[in-house]
């Protein structure tokens, strides 16, 4: 690992001041992704500003019946939090589908949003990568791209966002609270991550020096009919080929409201208002689910090794919506897909 300086922030204002003073500094919280990338020489900060002791570790109910999750709440604590399990089981399930318990004990809520792609070329400093070294080229477009994106890609980057948690947060319309040099603001989850375009070095729309302070979930009625279905090469502790966050609010045989988001297929959690509109008001059946899947996957484009993801995603969406409608969400310990 490269040499760097270390400093501990006392509070949010202190952290924002410290990062503004050093353009090559980075925040560190759980460190599970950043330290790994520093060992690989992909990230080379001059200074790490330790925010792990800031008072951002609580989960609180909001006035409108939602939850405000502090940015430093560990992934494991969030997954097992009684209010999350009770009101947002889709989020709990998605978190438990990702990483290992050791990593979930370390990884923070804010850090999960900011983890970087696991594209092998991004990690390998001997190969060109526009995300790591803008302008150097994309090795994945014509390389080994089995794990890569099928939606929202550009000629400059076909990397995927690796998070499971973020797929559920996207489906649940989370908001991200951010503190920056210009004060505090709130970013809708759909606007938080971005597509690669011709600047894939930017994973998010955060500005340099911004600090995530909390993630907020609005009150919702998706605690009964939901499923997080993750398809991967081994049954645990692997990144998604395709994952689906599905949530329904049923009114008898009709769908009153619906949420649908995909992971493992794009540079950000993939959601589309038209796919959810096709579910809303429609009858609960396979044809409805298949139509929503087709709309969500519109424009999907496979590369040499990942075209299978288009069919896989189509079927996984139908299966996840079926599980949600039946009220039998995918178990994250019994791996049989039913």
């Amino acid at each position: 690992m490269i040499n760097f300086q270390y400093a501990r922030a006392d509070d949010v204002a202190d952290a924002v001041r410290m990062i503004a003073a050093d353009p090559a500094a980075k925040f560190i919280a759980g460190g599970t992704n950043l330290i790994d990338l520093m060992k690989e020489d992909v990230e080379r900060p001059s200074r790490l500003i330790d925010i792990s002791r800031l008072a951002l570790k609580s989960v609180e109910e909001t006035a409108d019946g939602g939850l405000r999750i502090g940015a430093l709440v560990p992934n494991s604590d969030l997954a097992y939090h009684p209010l999350v399990a009770q009101r947002y089981p889709l989020l709990a399930s998605a978190i438990l589908a990702g990483a290992s318990q050791q990593l979930r004990n370390m990884a923070s809520t804010g850090g999960n949003l900011l983890q970087r792609t696991r594209c092998a070329y991004f990690y390998d400093t001997a190969t060109p990568c526009n995300k790591r070294e803008p302008g150097s080229g994309c090795s994945a477009v014509n390389g080994l791209n089995r794990m890569h994106a099928i939606l929202g890609t550009s000629e400059f980057c076909i990397a995927t966002h690796p998070s499971d948690m973020c797929v559920a947060l996207a489906a649940l319309d989370a908001k991200v609270h951010v503190a920056g040099a210009d004060g505090e603001r709130v970013v809708a989850f759909a606007d938080f991550h971005r597509l690669p375009g011709n600047t894939p070095q930017h994973d998010t729309n955060l500005r340099r020096g911004d600090l995530i302070t909390a993630v907020e979930l609005p009150a919702q009625n998706f605690a009964k009919n939901y499923s997080y279905l993750k398809i991967r090469d081994r049954l645990s502790y692997a990144f998604a080929l395709v994952s689906v966050a599905a949530a329904l609010e049923l009114d008898g045989e009709r769908i009153a409201d619906a949420r649908l988001a995909l992971g493992g297929v794009a540079h950000k959690p993939w959601r589309n208002a038209a796919a959810e509109a096709a579910l809303r008001g429609a009858a609960v059946n396979r044809a409805t689910f298949a139509r929503a899947a087709e709309i969500l996957l519109r424009g999907a484009k496979g590369f040499a090794h990942n075209a299978f993801k288009i069919d896989l995603a189509q079927r996984a969406i139908v299966r996840a919506l079926t599980q949600a409608a039946r009220g039998t969400p995918q178990s994250q310990s019994d791996k049989k897909v039913r």
Binding site: Y6, T125, S236
Partner: protein, 170 residues
């Protein structure tokens, strides 16, 4: 080479002084001076000579470096020692009490839950964390919540049996 990595600024980095910290390791207060980039794993192994904790992949993928920090299992290879100043660390060396093996250590022997043994300290510390969490009740749940610990010898069935025994569910 063309792709040589640069920092965001060309300013030279001043190499910082070592940072003094204290860790309570297996019940003993230890003071040490480390560079900021020293991982908890390297601090334990190279500074405190506690070599029971193993360095496997050094990237958080194998679990051989698992230790308990304030009672929670984590990957010590992805943790900076300076960030854990004041923490209570338990390693494999700290599990046996008064000359008696920890129930998990005894269960791993009883069930022959290892071949080469390299992953075993991490497996046992991880299992101790798992039991403290209280979320795993069935063999399926143990397998899922132990998936961060890889055993290349493939002793998994015996590891699950050993953990079930230590949980009193064998």
């Amino acid at each position: 080479m063309a792709l040589a990595r640069k920092r965001a600024t060309d300013e030279p980095i001043q190499v910082p002084d070592k940072i003094a910290l204290s860790l309570n390791v297996n019940g003993v207060e230890r003071r040490l001076d480390v560079a900021p980039w020293t991982t908890l794993l390297d601090a334990l192994r190279d500074h405190l000579d506690l070599t029971g904790t193993k360095k496997g992949c050094d990237h958080g993928q194998c679990g051989a470096c698992t230790v308990l920090v304030d009672g929670r299992r984590i990957n010590s290879c992805l943790t900076l020692a300076v960030m854990k100043d004041g923490a209570k660390i338990t390693t494999i060396e700290g599990l046996a009490k008064d000359g008696a093996l920890h129930p998990l250590q005894q269960a791993f022997i009883d069930h022959d839950a290892f071949q080469c043994g390299y992953c075993t300290p991490g497996q046992i510390c991880s299992a101790a964390g798992l039991i403290a969490e209280g979320k795993a009740k069935t063999a399926d749940e143990i397998r899922e919540l132990m998936s961060g610990n890889i055993c290349r010898c493939g002793a998994y069935p015996n590891i699950v049996a050993a953990i079930l025994q230590a949980m009193g569910r064998s």
